[in-house]
């Protein structure tokens, strides 16, 4: 598996009347197995960048070369489905079943295994809509294992989660990467960024990929969010 390469990629949206939203050009080469945290203030363009890398929005300029299928996961609470968590996880194989009207038994087994791996096997038969945000997020990450995409793009995977679920989700993200997938996850939870392999920061008019120690230093965080940080601005925890 080769890496994900962005060449002078300009993500953004064109609006009528010249009020375009465009991010500065970005060059990035992500290696398989790498977890990259995407940080930046609300409205900076994190979701736009993720969707552009996913191919859901066309880039305004530049190129994305993807090593394989790319999966995009919206923030917790954005996916709603009345059927069971097991079926939702099994739908990760939807792209592989070209002609059959149903999923294959091995798809269901793969989903069951993925749920068990993230220790949510007991949720398999519950309707997805009835689960908590944290449980839903774990089920959706289980679907990423089932889907086996080379690149996993996660939009705010830790939003709305309590500390225990946040820990479980972060461990699951790490497990995704440990099998050679590239994970790009946006988050406002800076300790998560501190534990990532690299941090991609989107400022008002700049975009920069760096090691966590540099990207999360007090002056960089001030430049990004405009706050002084002896620790994490969201939870007070010490950064890098």
């Amino acid at each position: 598996m080769s890496g994900l390469v962005l060449e002078a990629l300009v993500a953004g949206r064109v609006a009528r009347g010249g009020a375009d939203f465009r991010l500065p050009p970005l060059d990035l080469a992500a290696r398989p197995g790498e977890v990259i945290a995407l940080i930046g203030p609300n409205g900076a363009g994190k979701t736009t960048l993720l969707k552009t890398v996913a191919g859901l929005i066309p880039p305004l300029a530049g190129r994305v070369s993807r090593p394989g299928p790319v999966a995009y996961l919206p923030p917790p609470g954005a996916v709603s489905a009345g059927f069971s968590a097991l079926h939702l996880a099994a739908l990760g194989r939807a792209g592989r079943r070209r002609w059959s009207p149903g999923l294959a038994p091995e798809d269901i087994e793969a989903a069951r295994a993925a749920l068990a791996r993230l220790e949510v096997a007991d949720l398999a038969d519950r309707p997805f809509d009835r689960l908590s945000s944290g449980q839903q997020q774990l089920v959706l990450i289980a679907r990423l294992f089932v889907q086996d995409a080379a690149v996993c793009l996660l939009d705010e995977p830790l939003a709305l989660l309590d500390p225990a679920h946040a820990q479980a989700v972060e461990a699951a993200i790490r497990a995704l990467a440990a099998e050679g997938r590239i994970v790009l996850a946006s988050s406002h939870h800076l300790p998560f960024a501190a534990r990532a392999d690299r941090v991609l920061a989107i400022g008002p008019d700049w975009i920069e990929a760096a090691a966590p120690a540099h990207a999360l230093s007090p002056d960089r965080v001030r430049a990004l969010f405009g706050v002084e940080t002896p620790g994490c601005p969201c939870c007070g925890q010490a950064l890098s």
């Binding site: 191919g55 859901l56 996916v79 079926h87 939807a94 038969d125």
Partner: protein, 332 residues
């Protein structure tokens, strides 16, 4: 939903389908020209007693038409509810029913016969659906589903306005009653040939929806998720919409405007088999066939005057829907 839901999908659909068939046999075995079930089965293969063959020839087409239309409306309703992830979605979502009503009324105004009227209804329904989809394609809203719903309302309103013009222009003593009667819905008109003609588009639409299977579940998550899961969301959604519109148009062309089946049957079926499209669509079709059968039987049950099916469907369907809704919401 309990852990059994996953396994009991196909079995439950089969049981519901058998129930609908048993309902059909019961209807033929009671009422005018009643014949016992075994005589009817023999008559199906051309070896029954003459009275059973007569019952089959005279009442069979109407029965077939009722069940086909019920299944079509329910299947299309279930398809729309899944695609739009909206429990209020019904077969006339894209303005198909109003378009078909307008087409039929226009044909009646121009003095067309039964077959031409039904063809006009079929064409009107499909055109309305296509127009709604085309209008929605012009918009640039993020998730196309809202645009489709709004465009369906617009097209439906236009067709209803056109229908109003036709009603005003119609000759009040000769044409108006037939238009009104058509709009209220009935299975009386169905001959054997028409029932079989309606069966073809309904079977095609149902086959498409059933073949889409789990892809409908993926589409219900939204286009973005569908594309992220490796499906070509836009063509698949168009295919599903076309299938549902085809089924609705065929049903309305034969039976006129029969509401509520498409809303009620999927909700009832959902209580039994859960939300998965692969289970919900066949189960809904079976429930719809059964409901249409009962409604049709009721329509002739009160003396010599036949009550329009559309009226009965609303009179029975609306309270049944309310009860179902109350029971479901209290259990949740």
């Amino acid at each position: 939903m309990d852990p059994l839901t996953r396994q009991r999908g196909p079995a439950a659909s089969l049981v519901l389908a058998l129930l609908a068939l048993a309902g059909a046999a019961t209807v033929l075995a009671t009422g005018p020209l009643a014949a016992p079930p075994e005589a009817l089965i023999a008559a199906l293969f051309g070896e029954g007693p003459p009275e059973a063959e007569l019952a089959l020839a005279l009442r069979g087409p109407r029965l077939l038409a009722a069940m086909t239309c019920g299944a079509a409306l329910a299947g299309a309703g279930a398809g729309f509810q899944i695609l739009f992830r909206n429990p209020l979605a019904s077969p006339d979502l894209l303005g198909v029913t109003s378009g078909a009503g307008f087409g039929a009324a226009l044909a009646l105004l121009l003095g067309a016969g039964v077959f031409l009227t039904q063809s006009a209804a079929f064409a009107g329904g499909l055109h309305a659906g296509a127009l709604a989809v085309a209008c929605a394609a012009l918009t640039r809203s993020g998730d196309g589903r809202l645009a489709l719903i709004l465009c369906g309302i617009v097209v439906g309103a236009l067709a209803t306005a056109g229908l109003g013009v036709v009603v005003i222009a119609a000759e009040p003593y000769s044409q108006l009653p037939s238009i009104t009667w058509w709009l209220l819905g009935s299975f009386t008109r169905a001959t054997g040939a028409e029932a079989v003609l309606a069966l073809a588009p309904v079977a095609l639409g149902a086959a498409i929806l059933l073949a889409l299977g789990f892809r409908l579940d993926v589409l219900s998550l939204g286009d973005e998720q569908a594309r992220s899961l490796g499906l070509r969301a836009t063509p698949l959604r168009l295919l599903a919409l076309a299938a549902a519109a085809l089924m609705t148009s065929a049903a309305v062309a034969v039976a006129g405007v029969v509401g509520w089946i498409g809303l009620l049957a999927p909700h009832a079926a959902r209580r039994v088999v859960g939300e998965r499209a692969g289970a919900l669509i066949p189960a809904s079709m079976a429930v719809g066939a059964l409901f249409a059968l009962l409604i049709d039987r009721l329509s002739t049950a009160f003396g010599p005057v036949e009550i329009p099916v559309g009226l009965l469907s609303a009179a029975v369907g609306a309270p049944a829907f309310l009860i179902l809704f109350v029971v479901t919401s209290r259990r949740a």
